[in-house]
Symmetry: C2
């Protein structure tokens, strides 16, 4: 990904490129979603769950780790129980760096952290809450030769903007709408940066409207104030006080876009539609982009081209899959062709 977009990224010939060949993810046509909206719109999903560690975080992490290595770091650190910790661990270990992940006690049993552990992360579980974990990683990165790779690391957004480049490269222009889940608000900010840089370089003839969708129980940007106890089953966007608040507001305003809240029920409905009609299995948080599109379907201009960003792979969250699949199961059937055919409707 760094090689492909080298001219737009803060790297030099001296930067060691730590890569898992991330990016280059498919922009999949979504004819079933388009049919639900009608008016000859075209809908695509940017399936970033097909990155090497299963989420868009890899785009930022390849750059963050490459720059850390260039700067001589021997270790990186982050506070995260989710996609960030997995990406940080995979790229750090590939680059020969140690990867420390600080989490509050009680998170170690979670499946998502298992991915980071498999990649060789060293997990430090502290007595305290997530804010204290964040404070610890900041202080450690200040005082010791350890690079912080949480979202405050500026290279993360620089890498993530390549998602916008790929969308333009695939479509031949920017879309009319870019629908995207908003949690920490880094990705919407990165995409907007990417669309602008590509536009200025003459690779697109227009800029998209940035349509940011938050989970209803975790929608500080919609409400205009931080949320102290954010709640949603879309854990990847369960963030009460987004790090990239100002950048995201600028993206919305300058693009004439909008922020909207979608309920967990709307998220799950979009999640099921994506899987069972389009054949695309994403994280619940990813489905917020599609839930938002469906909520705004009456405002979509006729003939518009719309891209919904799917940030993570559905395999990241098997519990939600088990609980919220269609569950079309018939058990205890006799091994008899006629009986089975009857159940099948023949």
């Amino acid at each position: 990904m760094i090689e492909r977009y080298r001219d737009f990224l803060p790297v030099t010939a001296a930067t060691p490129v730590i890569t898992l060949l991330e990016g280059n993810t498919p922009l999949i046509p979504a004819p079933s979603l388009a049919a639900k909206i009608g008016r000859d719109v075209k809908v695509f999903v940017k399936y970033d769950g097909l990155n090497p560690t299963g989420s868009f975080k890899d785009r930022g992490m390849t750059l963050a780790i490459s720059k850390a290595k260039e700067a001589g770091a021997k270790a990186v650190i982050c506070a995260s129980t989710g996609n960030t910790s997995a990406a940080a661990a995979a790229y750090a270990r590939r680059g020969g760096l140690r990867a420390f992940v600080v989490v509050p006690d009680g998170y170690v049993a979670l499946g998502k952290l298992a991915q980071a552990l498999v990649y060789g992360a060293e997990v430090l579980s502290i007595q305290g809450n997530f804010d204290q974990a964040l404070e610890m990683v900041r202080l450690i990165a200040d005082r010791y030769p350890v690079t912080l790779v949480n979202s405050v690391n500026p290279y993360r957004l620089e890498g993530q903007k390549t998602g916008a480049f790929e969308v333009v490269d695939a479509l031949g222009d920017a879309p009319d709408w870019l629908c995207i889940p908003v949690g920490n608000a880094g990705n919407i900010s990165a995409y907007w940066m990417g669309f602008n840089q590509y536009y200025q370089a003459g690779h697109s003839r227009k800029l998209p409207q940035m349509m940011g969708f938050q989970a209803a129980g975790s929608a500080p940007l919609v409400h205009g104030q931080p949320i102290s106890n954010p709640e949603t089953l879309a854990t990847a966007i369960r963030i009460g006080n987004p790090a990239s608040w100002e950048l995201a507001m600028t993206a919305k305003t300058d693009s004439k876009g909008t922020f909207r809240a979608v309920t967990d029920e709307e998220i799950l409905e979009a999640y099921r539609i994506l899987a069972s009609e389009e054949g695309v299995f994403c994280e619940p948080a990813s489905a917020a982009s599609v839930a938002g599109l469906l909520q705004c379907r009456d405002q979509v201009p006729a003939g518009a081209t719309i891209v919904c960003v799917l940030t993570g792979n559905g395999l990241k969250d098997p519990d939600v899959a088990i609980k919220h699949s269609g569950n079309q199961i018939h058990t205890g059937l006799t091994a008899n062709v006629e009986e089975l055919a009857k159940v099948m409707g023949f």
Copy 2:
């Protein structure tokens, strides 16, 4: 994938292409594995876990479902509790077909089946064993307008051979060794077919030696006879009587390759090395290819180029990840910078 390799595939202008933009998966350099072997060998992993449903099965299923739709089928059926059922459901639903999955009672609770259910599969769970489930799907496909998409479907291997095409396209020639996990033996047969067709078309100057690796508790091709109770934690290759036995034997013999057995311990060791040194998280079964390479390391010719096929995504099997990760965890730490730094070794 069908569009890219249309000239080599049994499709016509009339075939409706049902695709999730599968294939085009990264061929990732594995410098750490190469260093373990030495002698200037080059090692790559073909990370087919980055296909849309998380396994190489998508290559075969895009073709099988497209051909089923071309033939007018309204439904497909398979007996599978794993990657095949997920791929069948995703592509069938995307093509507007019903997807039936027949399993023996007792499998419905498994996480892998959840993926098929999310994609909209209709699961028929029968009183009986897996052989009876297979018999049922064969009989149903014979008598009703339902297409069988188990591995006996010839289009599955035709699609899977594109993995070999992509390897040659990425390297500019065939590798010297192709290391691959062997369960039902379809994929090794498909790769061999692909390498031969590409060689005959002048796209490569040589053919690889096909190095097939089976789990020790499930190694009928190594022992030369079916196994009645195959056992291995690498569930995706836990098969006692491979469907593509003869084709696989031909691939081995004609390529001057070999079949070897690797223990579950060797598989887990390779699984951990891949994740924690190369940053690549695969299914346990996938790691059999790397376990086999490491077992045969002394036979690798100096300067050889080796490709190990990683057939599935590690996220498919979170239980193994949780049980067999490095588990470098420190819990109950005080939220104090000096204490944490000490634990980190600073």
